[in-house]
């Protein structure tokens, strides 16, 4: 492509643009320029590396929206964790230690009659195992606790569904362990 005619058309403009070549920074400007760049590079290198959580959350400082979003996520995780915690600590089909026995007997003890009904059910089991341990102490405690619960709250008011379920499973599986 021949640029000659076009270049001639713009010859005066080209001469005018030459003026721009004479615009130069102050004398000595370029002597120190590279030193400034190197100093900035070294300063950046000397700066301590950001902590892992800062690298993970890059926008937390600058964006309130990001901060709010992270807050909601963390809060949701905490709430979900708290809600899942009881069912996680009471595994199904466990041997039913003292803590589970307490739960089991406390739950139906919403009425005093129910609490006493449970006692004959658990007493022979312990006796059959031949365990030499005081039988009355835990039962007495359970009985008192059941009475207290029965007096202070209506049936099932503070009992999460998981406790009912756990109790039922435990009751069914307990004889199978004999």
């Amino acid at each position: 492509m021949n640029d000659e005619p076009k270049d001639q058309e713009f010859e005066k403009l080209r001469q005018l643009l030459e003026l721009k070549r004479h615009e130069v920074p102050p004398p000595g400007y370029f002597e120190d320029f590279s030193a400034g760049v190197i100093a900035r590079i070294e300063a950046e290198d000397a700066r301590p590396a950001p902590s892992w959580w800062r690298r993970l959350l890059p926008g937390i400082d600058t964006s309130p929206v990001m901060l709010g979003a992270y807050g909601v996520i963390v809060g949701s995780l905490v709430i979900a964790g708290v809600q899942l915690l009881p069912s996680g600590t009471a595994p199904q089909g466990s041997e039913g230690g003292p803590q589970l026995s307490a739960t089991e007997t406390a739950q139906p003890a919403a009425t005093p009659e129910a609490a006493t009904d449970l006692i004959p059910e658990t007493r022979p089991v312990v006796a059959d195992l031949g365990v030499d341990q005081p039988e009355t102490a835990p039962l007495k405690t359970l009985g008192n606790e059941a009475e207290h619960v029965a007096r202070s709250a209506p049936t099932g008011m503070f009992d999460p569904p998981s406790i009912h379920n756990t109790s039922r499973v435990e009751r069914v599986s307990f004889p199978a362990n004999q």
Binding site: K6, K12, R14, E18, K20, H22, E23, V24
Partner: protein
């Protein structure tokens, strides 16, 4: 203008047209410096900066018409290039590669700057008084007899800033920096036809804006 004077003028503006042998030598030298800089040798990178700083600065200055902006952008371009040296595969010359970094950052900067243009112009060097073409253009050929170099400089920069970034870039690289269409195409990442058409359009625009000084 004599050859020596022209070369002096070109050097002052960061425009120098070396021979093919000189280019090959510079490429080899640059490649060695890049290898050393990649390994963290800041002295080598210092040399690389010194090699290209005037050309990069001149381009960015003519793009922004602002010394402070050009200073910051040139520094940032060299820092960015240093951090990205590992990604430089040598498929293009280091010169083209660093030009791309500088130009892209500058275009992004100009887009954010919106239409607010704050000129901060450098002074003319002493050579301008010795350039008979320019002196005659100012004093004899323009209808504005009272126009002096400073006024003309301001009008010229204002006209440049009226162009779009892509058109201003092509005029800067070709008509001020003296690059070829091919070199510009590599930097801007387009073919030479596009470069030529952009150049033609940009010149037309400039001619319209500066018509009082070009009659």
């Amino acid at each position: 203008m004599s050859g020596a004077a022209q070369k002096e003028t070109s050097k002052a503006a960061g425009v120098d047209k070396p021979t093919e042998q000189e280019r090959a030598e510079e490429r080899a030298r640059t490649a060695k410096l890049v290898d050393r800089a990649r390994k963290g040798d800041l002295a080598a990178y210092d040399e690389l900066i010194r090699t290209f700083q005037e050309r990069i600065y001149a381009t960015l200055y003519n793009m922004t018409s602002n010394h402070e902006d050009a200073h910051d952008l040139t520094q940032e371009a060299f820092i960015k290039a240093y951090r990205s040296l590992d990604s430089f595969k040598g498929q293009s010359s280091f010169y083209t590669w660093i030009y791309r970094i500088a130009v892209n950052r500058t275009i992004n900067f100009l887009k954010k700057r919106n239409r607010r243009v704050n000129l901060s112009l450098n002074d003319m060097d002493a050579n301008v008084e010795n350039n008979p073409e320019l002196v005659s253009l100012v004093s004899d050929k323009t209808p504005r007899r009272d126009a002096n170099l400073t006024e003309l400089q301001e009008k010229l920069n204002e006209a440049m800033q009226r162009l779009s970034e892509s058109h201003r870039l092509v005029v800067t690289l070709h008509d001020i920096q003296g690059m070829s269409h091919e070199e510009i195409g590599k930097i801007v990442n387009c073919n030479t036809g596009t470069v030529r058409s952009r150049l033609f359009y940009a010149r037309q625009q400039l001619q319209a804006h500066l018509s009082d000084y070009l009659k």
